[in-house]
Symmetry: C2
Subunit: 392 residues, 2 copies
């Protein structure tokens, strides 16, 4: 199987951009990705576009968004297709792009994500997100994702002694990281006291346990690793990838305190990469709610199930810890532009592995191997990617 | 690159099924596909699902439809993802599935398509389809696909002397074929006189020039060709594939009488297969409007541009002709369940190549190499696949 490498990556800031549509957001991320290719890249070498987007259709383009955006940046002829798995749309777009390169059908393609969530009313927003849960058993019964993840958090509290303070530690950590990231939507630290005192959403969650659905776009340019050196001396290889699914309705699942889709995706990715969880130097994980980051720790093998909140107590996953998680600020502070999220994680990792964080304070030291984790809905689907730079 | 083969294929009848939801339609096609695998297939060997669907969200599941359907047929763990490019969603689902096999990441996967178009009002239906054209320049200006394709037909009439009778010949041929296909929505022949006298839609189209958007599902099971003989002695190889895109808005395109997305897709597919258009024995093409089949003839290399309607005059593409096109009845008579259409074409070709047409009268004789052609919207995207059975 041909190896795959990232040679360029770009993303918009995440936030509320009433003056920019999806075309403008995509073009901005695309231009930044092109400019990041060290030795330059003739755009005509880009052979295909795989685009992650969920809400396409709410006031903008539903069908064929991918060719529309390719045409907008001057690449009307390349095969372009949209890939959707709710909040994991970006991860699955990257997956199909990586498999397209690995198949030998293409040498160089783009994986991208774009979303405009701030144009829609909060009722519409709930509609668009809600229908990524099970429609028959959850959405029509009035469930929202906050309620569904809250049920998982409650179960974790019962089984493993998780406290609200542990959830708050995720928020505090990620806001601290987000404060250093110029691309993050929320660039300010919060105290543990603040994190514990937010407006209630669904017990045990308050507003600080919930990420923001927002506007943004992200683009990564990937190629057959054999050709990577034509474009950069510092490619980042994707050495393993995996995907998984599960029942959408949580009542159908084996567990409420572990996501099988993630475990399967991680197992596949680790096996392909030939490494173990202990080899991961840092990670970007899908913290749509604070509990989601806690579930991720064990599902990705960073600890035993039920022990995840200990990592937070010990600061293992903070920026200075042994295994920094969500140096970007995560969905929690960086923001969650649905289809762009999984691609934005790859952007963050690409630049971190190359020592290119915008500010010295947020640059992870000596990272060589990293992981991204993108979850659809409440765990109905998931992707995991493992990245590695060359050298020691 | 590993070769890819189809080992099983199934589809529902196409039509108006108020008593069946997307889950039921998908399960029906899935069961038929499984049952078609000659030596039997343990469903647990299926490693992933690539699903084409456009209208997901109109009263059913928008987000994560693919894992929902995988779970419904007892495969909740397999990676499952939705792929969308309007009316070419099925073709692009097959493309991503084929590339997934060719990448070596999987040995055996499903490509599927499903759509429920008859549950939505005609206003909603226009909305869902209309937004697959360019939203800014076409939909918001009041264009519908009938109007857009009518503009292409008018241009073809001006440039090449096409008559309304030629359009009618497509409808007559495809209704004649559909009358023999138990899976077709419209199973009756029409006369040339009838075809010329339908209710006007958009000049030069009357109702007989337009396909029906409808309900249906289709599933194909594909695997690494090296393993195909474990499941059947009569696999059908996919020996070439290609995809293309173009500007969505037709005013941006080079031509109104040729679809560049199709030409590029066909060129890629022929090159990969190492064959020429003259080597194709029969084809399923995307006749959403009668002019679309006429455009396809030249874009696929079956004739010179502007000469397509001559093939109809000479009966070349009728069931008994040298190059039967749309033996299934095509979108025109078989029906057009958007996301299922591109997969349904692969089903038809799989069974035709194996000599398994349901009725002797509609079995194509001595076909060995066939082509399918699936177009998104008015030509914003397209896929072409070339299939071949073993033997002489």
């Amino acid at each position: 199987m041909p190896e795959v490498a990232i040679i360029g990556a770009g993303q918009t800031p995440y936030g509320d951009f009433p003056l920019k549509g999806v075309k403008e957001l995509f073009a901005e991320a695309y231009q930044e990705a092109l400019a990041s290719v060290d030795k330059g890249l003739d755009p005509n070498l880009i052979q295909a576009l795989f685009l992650g987007s969920l809400s396409a259709g709410n006031g903008f383009q539903l069908g064929q968004l991918a060719p529309l955006l390719a045409g907008h940046v001057g690449l009307p002829d390349i095969p372009a297709v949209r890939v959707e798995n709710a909040c994991a749309s970006g991860g699955f777009a990257l997956l199909t792009a990586v498999q397209a390169i690995a198949s030998g059908a293409y040498d160089l393609v783009m994986a991208a994500g774009v979303e405009k969530m701030r144009d829609v009313s909060s009722v519409q927003s709930k509609y668009w997100l809600g229908i990524s849960g099970d429609t028959e058993y959850e959405r029509l019964a009035g469930s929202t994702f906050a309620g569904i993840y809250a049920a998982m958090a409650r179960r974790y509290m019962e089984e493993y002694g998780l406290k609200k303070e542990h959830l708050a530690l995720v928020a505090v950590k990620n806001h601290r990281n987000g404060a250093l990231n110029p691309k993050a939507q929320f660039r300010r630290e919060i105290t543990l006291e603040t994190a514990l005192k937010g407006v209630e959403v669904a017990y045990p969650f308050n507003i600080w346990d919930c990420c923001s659905t927002t506007d943004g776009a992200a683009v990564v340019i990937i190629c057959n690793a054999k050709k990577a050196k034509d474009f950069t001396n510092r490619p980042v290889k994707i050495i393993g990838w995996g995907a998984g699914s599960d029942y959408l309705a949580i009542h159908d699942r084996d567990s409420l305190t572990s996501l099988k889709a993630v475990k399967n995706a991680a197992q596949t990715a680790y096996q392909m990469a030939g490494i173990k969880p202990q080899d991961i130097d840092f990670a970007e994980v899908h913290d749509c709610f604070t509990i989601a980051e806690i579930l991720a720790y064990a599902d990705l093998g960073f600890c035993q199930e039920g022990q995840a909140h200990r990592l937070l107590e010990e600061g293992v996953t903070s920026l200075e810890g042994r295994l920094p998680v969500n140096a970007s600020g995560g969905l929690k502070a960086k923001g969650h532009p649905i289809g762009a999220t999984g691609i934005g994680m790859a952007c963050e990792i690409f630049h971190q592995l190359r020592g290119e964080a915008e500010r010295k304070e947020r640059q992870i030291r000596n990272g060589r191997t990293a992981l991204s984790h993108n979850v659809g809905g409440s765990g109905g689907s998931a992707t995991v990617f493992i990245y590695q730079r060359e050298g020691e």
